[in-house]
């Protein structure tokens, strides 16, 4: 949102994320609102925002690899599972503090992600998508069959503690999750305007040309997978300690597909798009969850609890509509809106 008449006079201004004093105001008030939210929001809303924030972290990772680097990963929730289990194993079996386990689980997930991203060196596009489905299945299978992960029973990670203060409720975890989300968003926004981010975009747009220009494809693709899975792992760790019970049912293929769907709705290759997509899909799901019992009462053929199936169908229908009518996602609408604000009262032709 930049009004007409704001000009960039040097490179620093050109690449600045926060450009005008209005931006600063919105940013500071937004952050205050974010952190003051538990004082007036209901417990349900706080849990919902927690869920949104964790999804945002996962989807940001996916945005880096899929939206910016152009390598589609259908295995993001498996890497989230790796992070969740790594964090649980570190805290439960080795007694390491949550504050150390959180970054470590991200690194573990990132390393697994680099191994899982190896097929990207050979194939891309749809083939890579299938390869990541295979990676997803293998990771989940390993988690179910290793002794250290607790198999089908899952694990029970403890709540984080700081001194004698335990983050054992949703509104207390809210501060950790939101802080991590803000830091990760800032990091992602910075990453994509750095040389690494520009290299990712070059690889996405034309990998052959990027290689000719001197971008190391192997290094950047694996780095992209590391980043994406690092994000997934961090989110998984937060999820594990928020839920305090994890099992493989929370990280199925459908969840991975959901994150891809969020990117489709939000728009590929845009950090604000992640927020739009996550909020849109999660809110839609909540609306379906609330309305489906009433629908079930009105239309008896829907059965007693149609929420899961109606949620899936609505999600699929939304994806079809977006792919058909708005393939560039909500982020594109946002860009159009920003442009029209800048040149107001003229119209975009």
């Amino acid at each position: 949102m930049r009004p007409s008449g704001v000009f960039d006079k040097n490179y620093g201004q050109d690449i600045a994320i926060v450009r005008t004093w209005q931006h600063w105001t919105v940013l500071i008030f937004g952050l205050i609102l974010l952190y003051a939210f538990p004082f007036f929001g209901s417990y349900y809303l706080i849990s919902f925002v927690n869920y949104l924030a964790i999804s945002v972290i996962v989807a940001l990772g996916l945005q880096i690899i899929t939206g910016y680097c152009g390598l589609v990963s259908f295995g993001q929730s498996a890497f989230m599972a790796v992070g969740a289990y790594a964090s649980s194993i570190l805290t439960v079996r080795y007694g390491i503090s949550f504050w150390v386990a959180l970054p470590l689980s991200g690194v573990v997930a990132g390393i697994i992600g680099v191994i899982g991203g190896a097929p990207s060196l050979r194939v891309k596009g749809m083939y890579l998508a299938l390869a990541t489905i295979a990676i997803h299945a293998l990771v989940i299978w390993l988690i179910m069959h290793l002794n250290i992960t607790g198999g089908y029973k899952g694990m029970f990670p403890p709540s984080p503690e700081l001194g004698s203060f335990a983050f054992d409720t949703d509104d207390r975890m809210y501060y950790i999750i939101c802080t991590v989300m803000v830091v990760m968003t800032y990091f992602a926004r910075n990453l994509v305007r750095s040389s690494v981010g520009r290299a990712f975009i070059a690889i996405r747009d034309n990998d052959l040309a990027a290689e000719v220009m001197g971008i190391n494809l192997y290094y950047h693709k694996l780095l992209g997978f590391f980043m994406a899975c690092f994000y997934g792992g961090i989110a998984g760790s937060l999820w594990a300690h928020l839920m305090t019970v994890i099992n493989v049912e929370q990280f199925t293929l459908i969840h991975s597909l959901e994150y891809i769907g969020m990117l489709i709705v939000g728009g590929m290759g845009s950090v604000p798009g992640v927020f739009f997509g996550v909020i849109f899909i999660r809110t839609l799901n909540e609306v379906v969850m609330f309305t489906s019992p009433f629908l079930g009462q009105i239309f008896s053929w829907l059965g007693p609890s149609p929420s899961a199936s109606l949620g899936l169908s609505t999600f699929g229908a939304v994806l079809i509509l977006f792919l058909k009518f708005e393939p560039r996602g909500l982020a594109h609408r946002w860009e159009v809106f920003k442009a029209s604000y800048r040149i107001y009262p003229f119209k975009i032709t």
């Binding site: 891309k124 749809m126 083939y127 494809l217 899936l312 999600f315 994806l319």
Partner: protein, 294 residues
């Protein structure tokens, strides 16, 4: 050794079902350059439609087969008309995402119908075992195996020799060029979706013969996709061989490895093979070497 051959034969029978699902994916790719995830749902819905006519309405086999084929053909028509028609000329990947959206859309309806339960088809093929040299082959599976082979031969001949098949292959090359050469790309899209939905239905009925219709049956579509990629996306004979091979490997590996690792090898065997194929021969065993290499 006899155990190995027994496992292999059983796996081959299952593999013929995978080949059929793979064939429907290959059909769509070969004629429209769209890789479809949605066929897993068509498999499940075909089996379900057949179940409704056969088990609910107590119709005989042949009479319930026709409406089941018609229903899934209609579904294929609608999928094409409302979702994939707008994807003509788009990249391979965006149409793949479209089929994935269709998969989720239909998945919800399948959930809604099954409600966590499962449906079992009444036996409609002759039961019993057929013994050769100490190996047992179930007769009904042998029949569905034979049907699969016949379907494969027919499809292969259509693609190789008929004018329609030629048009379909041309469309797969390039939508624009095919359209300007006088081929109606829209008609090709419609007809191939109807045809492949019917093939998927046959696969679904044959699958429902050996296992229940339950909520994760559509994931056989992913297995079909794996078969199609392993065999080469544009090779019908590749789908047949890869499907049989995959079935054998799954069954043999789970027969020998399950006791060692505690079960579940069957679920990952096909994925492991997929990864190996993608790493070694990304264009599949029988596909054209046209995939973009990096």
């Amino acid at each position: 050794m006899i155990e190995f051959f027994q496992l292999a034969i059983t796996g081959m029978m299952i593999g013929s079902l995978y080949s059929l699902v793979g064939a429907s994916v290959v059909l769509v790719y070969k004629s429209t350059h769209v890789v479809s995830l949605a066929h897993g749902q068509l498999v499940a819905f075909g089996a379900l439609a057949f179940w409704i006519f056969m088990a609910q309405l107590n119709l005989p086999f042949w009479i319930s087969l026709v409406p089941a084929l018609m229903i899934t053909g209609l579904m294929g028509f609608f999928i094409e008309r409302f979702a994939l028609r707008s994807m003509i000329g788009e990249s391979l990947f965006s149409s793949f995402l479209m089929t994935f959206a269709i998969f989720l859309f239909l998945e919800g309806f399948l959930f809604l119908y099954l409600m966590g339960g499962s449906r079992t088809l009444p036996p409609f093929l002759p039961k019993g075992n057929f013994a050769v040299a100490g190996l047992f082959v179930p007769v009904d599976q042998l029949i569905s195996f034979g049907i699969a082979i016949i379907l494969f031969i027919v499809l292969g001949l259509i693609f190789k020799f008929s004018w329609v098949g030629l048009g379909m292959r041309a469309t797969a090359e390039d939508h624009n060029l095919a359209q300007s050469a006088g081929i109606s790309v829209r008609n090709i899209f419609t007809s191939i979706w109807i045809l492949s939905s019917m093939v998927a239905t046959v696969a679904g009925i044959a699958t429902a013969n050996v296992m229940d219709i339950y909520h994760s049956l559509p994931y056989i579509g992913i297995t079909g996709l794996i078969v199609a990629i392993c065999g080469g996306l544009d090779s019908i004979i590749g789908a047949l061989i890869a499907g049989l091979f995959l079935g054998i490997v799954e069954n043999v590996s789970s027969g020998y490895l399950d006791p060692l690792v505690g079960g579940g090898v069957k679920d990952v065997a096909s994925y492991t093979i997929l990864l190996l194929v993608l790493l070694v021969r990304p264009y599949g065993l029988f596909g054209l070497k046209r995939i973009e290499r990096i």
